[in-house]
Symmetry: C2
Subunit: 341 residues, 2 copies
C-alpha cells in the first residue's frame, strides 16, 4: 500500500498543464498566472497531494534529515537529549533518524553506515561504551560529514563536541562532601573504558588531592551500570574495616541500587554515609532520602548539538572542530544535606 500515489504528473494531466507549471504554481512562483495558481492549488488540496520528498531530496541533494546515534534509549539521559534534539531539529525543519548502538562498536558502525546511506545531512553521536577503535568515525571526518559528538566523545578525534566538564563537576561534588565534613569518600565509577567515568574519577581525585586526602585503598570501584554490581560494590565498601562516610556514584542508575543496598545494610543516610550522584533524573527528588545529584543541561545539550550541526551543514567550507562545554549544576538534597552525623 503506497502512502500517496498522487504525483505532479497526474495533477498536470488533470489540469491540462505541464508538470513544471504545476510545480511552480505549488511553490508559489510569481511568474505563474494567478488563475492557474488558484486552479492548481485547489486540485492539489482536493486530491491531498503530497510532494515526494525523496524526489526533491534527490534533486537538491539535501534530505533535511539528521541522524542520531545513541547507546541506549532506555537510559533517561539519552532519551531526554533526544527529546531536545528532535524538538530543535523540527523547529529548523529537519527530521530525525535514530539508531542505537546498544553499547556495541559494531552496531554503532552499522548504525552510522545506515544513516549515511539514508543520506542524512549530518550526524549526532554519543559513543558506545565498547567503542575503542575510531576508524568508522575517522572516515566520517575525512569525508567531511557534518558531525557533532555529545556526552560521550572521542577525545582524540578532531570533531566538534558538546560536553560538560565532568572532571570539574565531580570535583565540585567531592568538595561539597568535604565541606560537610566527610573525609572518607569513596567513588563508584563506571567501566574503565568509559571516558566520561574516568573524567569524573579524575575530578574526584583532584578534589581529594587538593584537600590533602588521598583515597584509602579500595575506595574506587568500577561497576558496569547494572543494579547487581552497584549494590554489591556499595556493600563491599560498607563492610570495609574502615567504611566510607560518603559515596560519589557515576550515575543515578548506579546510585539507586547502591543507596538501597546501603540502607538495607543498616547504613543511615546521610548521617553515616552521604551520597552524591550524577544526572539528576526526575526520580532523584523522590528517593528516601532525596538524592543529591549533578544535573546535566539536557535541553541545552540537544539544542547546542543541533545548532552546531546545522552550522556545519550550512557552512560552505569545513568548519574547525570546537568543544562546547556546558555548565552542570550540583543539586544538593537530603542524601548529602547537612553536616556529618
Amino acid at each position: 500500500m503506497k502512502p500517496s500515489p498522487v504525483t505532479l504528473k497526474q495533477l498536470a494531466q488533470a489540469l491540462g498543464l505541464s508538470v513544471s507549471t504545476v510545480s511552480r504554481a505549488l511553490r508559489g512562483r510569481p511568474e505563474i498566472a494567478p488563475a492557474t495558481q488558484q486552479a492548481v492549488r485547489q486540485l492539489a488540496q482536493q486530491l491531498d497531494y503530497q510532494p515526494n520528498q525523496l524526489a526533491q531530496s534527490l534533486v537538491h541533494s539535501a534530505t533535511k534529515t539528521l541522524g542520531v546515534v545513541v547507546p541506549d534509549l532506555g537510559y533517561h539521559f539519552y532519551a531526554a537529549v533526544l527529546y531536545s534534539i528532535e524538538q530543535a531539529a523540527a523547529q529548523a525543519g529537519y527530521s530525525v533518524l535514530v539508531a542505537q548502538s546498544h553499547e556495541s562498536q559494531a552496531l554503532e558502525a552499522a548504525g552510522v553506515q545506515n544513516l549515511l546511506r539514508a543520506q542524512v545531512e549530518g550526524l549526532l553521536v554519543a559513543l558506545a561504551r565498547d567503542t575503542t577503535d575510531y576508524a568508522h568515525l575517522h572516515r566520517l571526518i575525512e569525508r567531511q560529514v557534518p558531525l557533532v559528538f555529545f556526552d560521550r566523545h572521542a577525545d582524540g578525534l578532531p570533531a566538534t563536541a558538546v560536553v560538560v566538564d565532568n572532571q570539574a563537576a565531580a570535583c565540585q561534588a567531592t568538595q561539597h562532601l568535604l565541606a560537610s565534613g566527610r573525609r572518607r569518600i569513596a567513588f563508584l565509577a563506571g567501566p574503565p573504558t568509559l571516558h566520561l567515568s574516568n573524567q569524573r574519577l579524575a575530578g574526584y581525585h583532584q578534589a581529594l588531592a587538593q584537600a590533602g586526602l588521598p583515597p584509602p585503598p579500595g575506595y574506587v570501584r568500577h561497576v558496569d551500570y547494572t543494579a547487581q554490581t552497584a549494590s554489591r560494590e556499595a556493600l563491599a565498601l560498607w563492610q570495609l574495616p574502615h567504611p566510607p562516610d560518603a559515596l560519589l556514584t557515576v550515575s543515578d542508575r548506579v546510585a539507586y541500587p547502591a543507596m538501597h543496598a546501603l540502607r538495607r545494610a543498616g547504613a543511615r543516610i546521610p548521617e553515616q554515609v552521604a551520597l552524591v550522584s550524577f544526572n539528576n533524573e526526575p526520580a532523584c527528588e523522590y528517593m528516601t532520602p532525596s538524592l543529591s545529584s549533578v544535573a546535566q543541561p539536557l535541553a541545552q545539550i540537544g539544542q547546542a548539538a543541533v545548532a552546531l550541526l546545522l552550522a556545519q551543514i550550512k557552512a560552505p567550507k569545513p568548519t574547525l572542530p570546537q568543544r562546547v562545554v556546558l555548565a552542570t549544576e550540583l543539586v544538593v538534597r537530603a542524601s548529602s544535606g547537612g553536616e556529618m552525623g
Copy 2:
C-alpha cells in the same frame, strides 16, 4: 559538505564500464563476469562507495523507513517503547524516523505530515493527549497508509492497535488492594480526555462495584501529570474527614510526588495508605517504600507494533484492523505489601 559524492557513474567511468554493469556487479547478479565483479567490487571498496538510498528508494518506491509519533520522549514509557521499536525495525532492515507531538494535536498532525512527505512506509503512533479530532488520522486510513497505534489509540478508528487491557489491569490492582483489607480506595486519574486513564478508572470502578463498595464522593481526582497537582490532590485526599486507606494512581509519574507528599504529611505507607501505580518504571523498586506498580510489556509492545506494521506494509491487500491486547503484570512491592495496618 556532501557525505559521499562517489556515484555509480564515476565507478563506471573509472572502469570503462556502463553504469548498469556496475550496478549489477555490486548487487552480485550472476550474469556478470567474475572478473568484472571483482574489479568493480574492489574499486567500490577502495573509493568507499555508498549507494544513494534516496535514488534506490525512488526507483523502488520503498524507503525502508518507519515513522514513529509519540507524545514525549521524556516519558520513560515512550522512550522504552521506542527502544524496542528501533531495535525491531533495525533487525528487519528498517530505519526509524521520530516525531514528538508534545501532547498537541496540531504538532501531531504536522508530525504525521512530515513523516509522510519523507515517504515512510508506515506509521507507529501513540496519540497526543489533546487529540480529539481524528481527521488527520482518518485520512491516513482512507489512503491506506500502513498504521499501527500503540498505548494511546483512537477507539473509534478502524486501525490496528497494540494495547494492554487497562481496565482489567486497574481492576486487578484494585482487587489486590481489596484483598489486603483496604476498603476506602481512592484513584488519582489522568485528564478526562485521556482514554487510557478512563479505562483504568473504569477498572477501578468495576472492582469496587464487584465488592459492593462504591467509592466515597471525592475519591476520584483528575491530575495533569505534573508533580504539583499530583501532590496537591494526594494531600487533599489525605485531609478528607474520612481519608482513604489506599490510593491507586494512573502513572508512576503521578505516584512519586503523591507518595512523597503523603509521607511528608505523616501518612505511614502502607500501614495507613497503600499505594499502587502504573508503568513500573525502574525507579519504583528504589522508592521508600518500594512502589507496587503494573508493569507494561515494553519490549513486546514495540516488537508487536513493528511486526504488525511490517505485515501491513508487505500485505498486497489492505489488512483488517486488529487489536492486540498484551498482558500486564502487577508487581507487588512494599507500598501495598502485607495486610492492613
